[in-house]
């Protein structure tokens, strides 16, 4: 019912101002309209960015902690993988509606939902990243007198950074896409411009909103990649 409600809200926004009137009337791709109305997309873009950064941030903190815990308590790996995978299979629109009775409408259910989707991706990469640390590193670290925690944070986690951040990149890209559906939970973001009936048929709008989602995903991916290079200078060291 809420979906119907959202879709029914027809913005006067489309034909309000600017652009080639006949092109806009035909729901066409109108560069002049885009030029005149681009400023209306900045707020949704920033809202979208906010949703992604906050939900991935929270999601990463939880999944990373669970990964470290399961690395130490191996028996936790199977159940945690099962639970996070099961959560990942819930359709996103359903997820955003399901969370509303608990969290109301707005950013809260959106962020919680998005954070849930990041779990399986990040958790698995943390676990495999730590498992792939060569045995001799672990042996050398212990043999020189590191405690389990020292070994984890001085050797194992740094060596797993490439795989952990590879997971983070997938999580970011996925979340940027999924965040478009956060509008169903009543949150802001570019999704608002994509799920309203009168807007989704308007090509100019779809190109701008959709294009911004894609560009945002690409920009955030580059940001994580840059962060990874910053954290792993040793991977770029070439034989002298």
């Amino acid at each position: 019912m809420s979906a119907a409600l959202v879709i029914a809200q027809s913005g006067g926004f489309v034909r309000e101002r600017g652009g080639d009137a006949s092109c806009v009337a035909n729901d066409g791709f109108c560069p002049t309209w885009i030029a005149d109305n681009l400023d209306r997309y900045w707020t949704p873009l920033l809202e979208h960015l906010y949703l992604v950064v906050v939900s991935v941030g929270i999601g990463f903190a939880i999944a990373f902690s669970l990964g470290l815990l399961a690395h130490r308590q191996r028996w936790l790996i199977a159940p945690l993988t099962g639970v996070t995978s099961a959560l990942y299979t819930i359709p996103s629109i359903a997820m955003f509606f399901l969370l509303q009775p608990l969290l109301g409408r707005g950013n809260a259910p959106a962020i919680v939902g998005l954070a849930i989707y990041t779990q399986v991706i990040i958790f698995r990469n943390v676990i495999t990243g730590l498992a792939n640390v060569p045995g001799e590193m672990v042996d050398a670290a212990s043999g020189m007198g590191m405690t389990k925690n020292q070994r984890l944070f001085r050797v194992e986690v740094p060596l797993a950074v490439p795989e952990i951040l590879a997971g983070l990149r997938i999580a970011v890209a996925t979340t940027v896409g999924l965040a478009a559906f956060a509008a169903f939970a009543g949150a802001g973001g570019l999704g608002q411009k994509l799920i309203v009936a009168s807007l989704i048929t308007f090509k100019s709008n779809v190109v701008v909103a959709g294009g911004m989602v894609t560009l945002l995903a690409a920009a955030l991916d580059l940001a994580v990649l840059g962060f990874q290079r910053l954290l792993t200078p040793w991977r770029r060291a070439v034989a002298a």
């Binding site: 042996d139 007198g145 060596l159 950074v161 040793w234 070439v238």
Partner: protein, 404 residues
């Protein structure tokens, strides 16, 4: 500077009836091992795979906990120590070296110092000191392990193990991953280092030749974790305690013994030397008294020129054209095995031995060598003594920066 430049004294390592039984294992991995490694010596644990040598070594720093028995370091049981604290006092070198790829060479070397909370300045100073000790240029300190060759990484591994100057070191096939040419070189370098540092070392290998070369004492272990023999290399080769040991040291054990002695360690034959133009009468007399019945023609610096032929002694005076080449010329510092090889290569039964200035000091013959092979083990020096004499004589392999 305290312990960063001073040398902590080595400690004895004593295995007392040490047994390791893995749960579910039919026989113990190590069975009642008792042996004592005197302070400052290298004890090599050698044996076929599955003999428990690595398990025995890893029980010293409690990477594996023993089932029964005890291991004492300097008289103190390892059981009474917290494993992490114990390990920080024991140098640890493994076959794969296990340098941390995400840390620079200096940071790798500083692993244990940083665990012990040393100051940055002190760690940095110690890292420079250790790079110099293992023969690596100081510029290496800011490189990453992936930028170094295998041999350089191995040296860093040793430097890292020596960082806090531990009295005891454990080395598990430390040269196992190095190609044969560089292995030989790194072994020699390590022996020279050890001659200086005098750590108590437990060294694991499956290679009997490496064991003979590196060990002051060798513990041969056999499958089932039993100690087959514990003896200095020469004794092991002279008097194997069982058919297993005899088989393990190999059919060429007499030849292997030759690698343990230098020409200077054995009694050489005397020889009469003569110069061109000298009256033959005196030379004939001296030749009769010498061990070798042929006279050696030498130049004014007593350097060998050639063997005088029989006809050369018949005339009035010695004539230089009546000689045959004095090949091979053996150096006093040569290892007996190499000297024998030279004799065989020249199809000669004997050769003149020269000292540091090239002057003749005697003659090495096949007979002398075979007597040396039969000599008592006590006359044969240990690995570190051999390396130390090499160091003093400067006759060792080059210590150039690197290879590959």
């Amino acid at each position: 500077m305290g312990e960063s430049s001073g040398r902590s004294s080595a400690e004895t390592i004593e295995f007392r009836d040490v047994t390791k039984q893995y749960p579910g294992g039919s026989e113990p991995a190590v069975d009642g091992l008792s042996l004592e490694v005197p302070a400052g010596e290298i004890c090599v644990l050698v044996g076929p795979s599955g003999c428990g040598k690595t398990t025995a070594m890893r029980m010293v720093n409690r990477m594996i906990d023993m089932t029964s028995g005890d291991i004492l370091l300097g008289g103190r049981s390892v059981r009474d120590r917290k494993p992490e604290e114990l390990r920080r006092e024991i140098g640890y070198v493994i076959q794969q070296i296990g340098l941390f790829p995400h840390r620079t060479i200096a940071d790798n070397i500083s692993t244990v110092p940083s665990l012990l909370g040393w100051s940055k300045a002190r760690m940095s100073e110690r890292a420079d000191e250790l790079l110099e000790l293992v023969g690596l240029p100081r510029e290496m300190r800011d490189r990453y392990p992936s930028q170094l060759s295998g041999g350089q990484r191995q040296r860093v591994g040793v430097a890292r193990a020596l960082a806090v100057d531990p009295p005891v070191m454990l080395m598990d096939e430390p040269f196992g991953a190095i190609d044969p040419i560089n292995r030989e070189r790194l072994q020699n370098e390590f022996l020279r280092l050890q001659a200086e540092l005098r750590k108590t070392i437990v060294f694991v290998t499956h290679d009997i030749d490496e064991a003979i070369k590196m060990g002051d004492r060798i513990a041969v272990m056999q499958v089932g974790g039993k100690l087959a023999q514990f003896a200095p290399p020469a004794e092991l080769l002279m008097a194997p305690a069982s058919p297993f040991v005899e088989d393990f040291v190999g059919a060429d054990r007499a030849l292997k013994r030759l690698a343990l002695q230098r020409v200077r360690d054995i009694d050489l034959w005397t020889v009469a030397t003569c110069r061109t133009g000298e009256p033959t009468a005196g030379v004939r007399e001296r030749t009769a008294e010498a061990d070798l019945d042929i006279a050696l023609l030498v130049d004014e610096h007593q350097r060998p020129v050639g063997w005088l032929s029989e006809r050369g002694l018949t005339g009035e005076r010695i004539r230089s054209e009546l000689r045959s080449p004095a090949d091979p010329v053996v150096d006093l510092d040569d290892i007996l095995r190499d000297a024998l090889s030279d004799l065989l290569a020249s199809e000669s039964m004997y050769g003149p031995v020269v000292g540091a200035q090239g002057e003749v000091v005697g003659v090495l013959s096949m007979q002398v060598i075979s007597q040396a092979v039969g000599s008592a083990p006590s006359e044969v020096p240990g690995a570190t003594e051999l390396a130390a004499s090499e160091h003093v004589n400067g006759a060792g392999d080059a210590t150039g920066p690197d290879e590959e």
